[in-house]
Symmetry: C2
Subunit: 441 residues, 2 copies
């Protein structure tokens, strides 16, 4: 343990002042989720491997657990670390279905792990904040609106972040349109169109025409559709103008129209809401509404908040649990913003007051002052040693503690408090003094 | 995914109402720690194996990570899940020493993992809440007092828990006494005496006399010493009466005496503080103060809050970082109390109000009422469907939501709120109504 340790790529850690920012974001999310009646849960970090692998494409990124003492490989536990919060939540719902009330609203703010190659905004260990509403057998569409409104409200309150755009779409609308114009494999077309955010229209057109049965003209119709993007429900008229007809298309237009109208009252200059018909989400299990979110200046990390409707979140054979959810990538969002200096770190310590120490013998007196301040909710620490007051003030400065309290000494009967940002010093009583408003530094 | 999943032994999970209790405990701990100027950090879940293994005795319980796609064993990452929060914290201090201010106060509330056989209060995945103060090169003794006071204050505020006893001792005191009476291997004697909580005096005496050089008489002197237990500093007199003399003994008596005097003002009927000279903590790295904590009725799970002083928490060869810390086993404490029904679960949902729904068309109106209540911090949900009011009231009852809000309808101009615990119903305005005090149910 003598060599200086170095960071592990993909396993980000924050300094105390940076952690303040993350904690503040998590507290805000939690407060908004609870205001809307979402119950907080945590699941264990591990799932049986067969459950993790049944998810297909991401299974290769799983970290498997082995007990160290079993050197011959017999220590394999059959368990892996979860790579998202949806797989464990689906299992939790099945396991506890008899003890839960449906529709079940839950939030879950927790870490997940993926063994993939780290890059900006992609980590091997990361924190997500998920909300989902799950029904038993059925789940009305208004819950799609609910989860979107809750997450937009939460993002609105993260007011230290750059502006964001929530992009919404509906898989029924996409599939209905593609079927209406005669595309046999809507999923393949969706996956091609999904490249529109990083590829030119011509590039995507080439991908589309490479699919069996998609002519130049069909590809153009797909692209005319997928490039529709409106901040209100006017996309409905524009899709109608393309002249396609299909029952699923009607259903999708109705749902997305309802969603866009309901989101108008929560959209803001901080969180724009856009109906973007190119958004599809790659994963197979979405069946209706889909969400993605881009952050201004952070386009390179992709969507930081995604989700949608899945008609079968979980099933035990006899009962099906449909759900709709949205997941905010806390690490993916905050860590690049902190490391780029876009988001400023918080205070190094929670203390608002440093109680100075006249000499080591008077520590109990300084402790008493601190106790009185803490009793009224003022975070306080006592100086570590009885250095000269100038040094104690610099100790506070280095930590970003705004007030230094000088205890009354024998020949001077009053306590004094110095605001070291302004230099102001006043007499004060530990049972009534309150820190003044924040000063711009 | 069709079979009903079953719990994994050693990986406890809580239902939403149980999680409320854990979350409340964690919030309380965090609030107290921050009031005392402790900064919150989190470390990554993994450490390089060589760092985990350098800790000796617990290394065999480590879970090692392997990437799933590498079937030939080449996927071993060289990483293991941390088994406590001290090893990662020591590494964090070394890695970030240049960016931290010392003495560095930190709290860390996080999970840890051990591959050991599960039993009551011993899990494979568990949450701990640790506080430590770490100095560079030196750390005055008053920080031992500080961490003990902070943790006692935190435990005092966990007022839904059974009474607890913090047992304190000092390794200098033990070693000094043993050396004074002529015991060559104080560590072996300490380990024997450590069995006093589960063995008779005679049983421990047999363990002691089995050690080379410990006579019957010496064993008795050890036991006379180790069975001293006082709720104040009177142990000093009782140790002195045993007639041993040693410099280290004097130092230990002085430190433990200071600690016991300083803890008198925070000890309570909920958290007793006892100088118990049998307490030693097995781990080799403690060098002074040691802490353990027993909970009334939960003696079988052992100490739920332990720690002490270590003169070398970390070292990079040229600089040494002494520390003192104490760690509360959140899972070890709460999960047995919840499963035994000693601690009652909280509410199933955070909602205080259910806004009833007259019909699906009036949902926007019910949503507006909910928005107005939430704006004033009142957690609110809107009924999932427009069933008969009786059914909507039962929906609230099942979830433990105390108030049902009936929106004003066309022919009756006022909103009504029913307290479903008392049956009282009053007119109310969503911009000013406030939930009344909690009613005993």
């Amino acid at each position: 343990m003598t060599a200086k340790p170095t960071p592990l790529s993909g396993f980000p850690e924050l300094l105390p002042a940076e952690r303040v920012v993350e904690q503040q974001a998590i507290d805000t999310l939690r407060r908004v989720f609870e205001l809307h009646g979402f119950a907080g849960i945590e699941t264990r970090a591990v799932e049986p491997l067969d459950r993790l692998q049944s998810q297909g494409e991401t299974s290769k990124e799983v970290y498997v657990l082995r007990r160290l003492q079993a050197e011959d490989g017999a220590g394999d536990s059959g368990l892996g670390l979860h790579f998202d919060l949806t797989v464990p939540f689906a299992r939790y719902v099945l396991e506890n279905a008899g003890k839960l009330e449906f529709p079940f609203r839950r939030y879950q703010i927790q870490r997940a792990w993926r063994g993939e190659r780290p890059q900006e905004g992609r980590f091997r260990e990361f924190t997500q904040a998920d909300i989902d509403v799950v029904g038993r057998d059925e789940l009305p569409f208004h819950h799609d609106i609910e989860v979107a409104r809750v997450m937009v409200e939460a993002m609105n309150r993260l007011d230290f972040l750059p502006p964001m755009t929530l992009q919404v779409n509906n898989r029924k609308l996409i599939e209905g349109f593609y079927r209406a114009i005669g595309i046999a494999e809507p999923l393949l077309a969706m996956q091609a169109v999904d490249h529109l955010d990083k590829m030119s229209r011509d590039g995507v057109k080439k991908l589309l025409t490479a699919i069996d049965g998609i002519s130049d003209e069909l590809a153009d119709r797909c692209l005319d559709f997928a490039t529709i993007s409106t901040e209100n429900a006017s996309f409905v008229k524009r899709v109608r103008a393309l002249g396609a007809e299909h029952e699923l298309l009607d259903e999708g237009l109705d749902e997305l129209g309802q969603l866009m109208r309901a989101l108008q009252s929560v959209a803001s200059h901080r969180v724009r809401v856009v109906a973007d018909l190119a958004i599809a989400r790659g994963l197979g299990y979405y069946t209706g509404t889909v969400f993605e979110t881009r952050v201004e200046g952070l386009e390179s990390v992709g969507s930081i908040c995604s989700g949608g409707r899945y008609d079968t979140l979980a099933s035990d054979g006899s009962t099906t649990y449909p759900g709709v959810g949205i997941s905010l990538g806390v690490s993916r969002l905050l860590i690049p913003l902190i490391s780029r200096g876009v988001v400023q770190p918080g205070a190094k310590v929670p203390s608002r007051v440093l109680v100075a120490l006249v000499d080591e013998e008077s520590r109990p007196g300084s402790d008493e002052i601190a106790t009185a301040l803490r009793r009224r909710g003022i975070a306080t620490e006592v100086a570590a040693s009885a250095q000269k007051f100038g040094k104690q003030i610099r100790y506070a400065e280095r930590r970003g503690i705004p007030f230094v309290w000088f205890p009354a000494s024998g020949d001077d009967g009053t306590h004094q408090v110095k605001d070291i940002r302004s230099g102001d010093q006043v007499s004060a009583d530990p049972d009534s003094w309150t820190p003044s408003e924040e000063v711009e530094e």
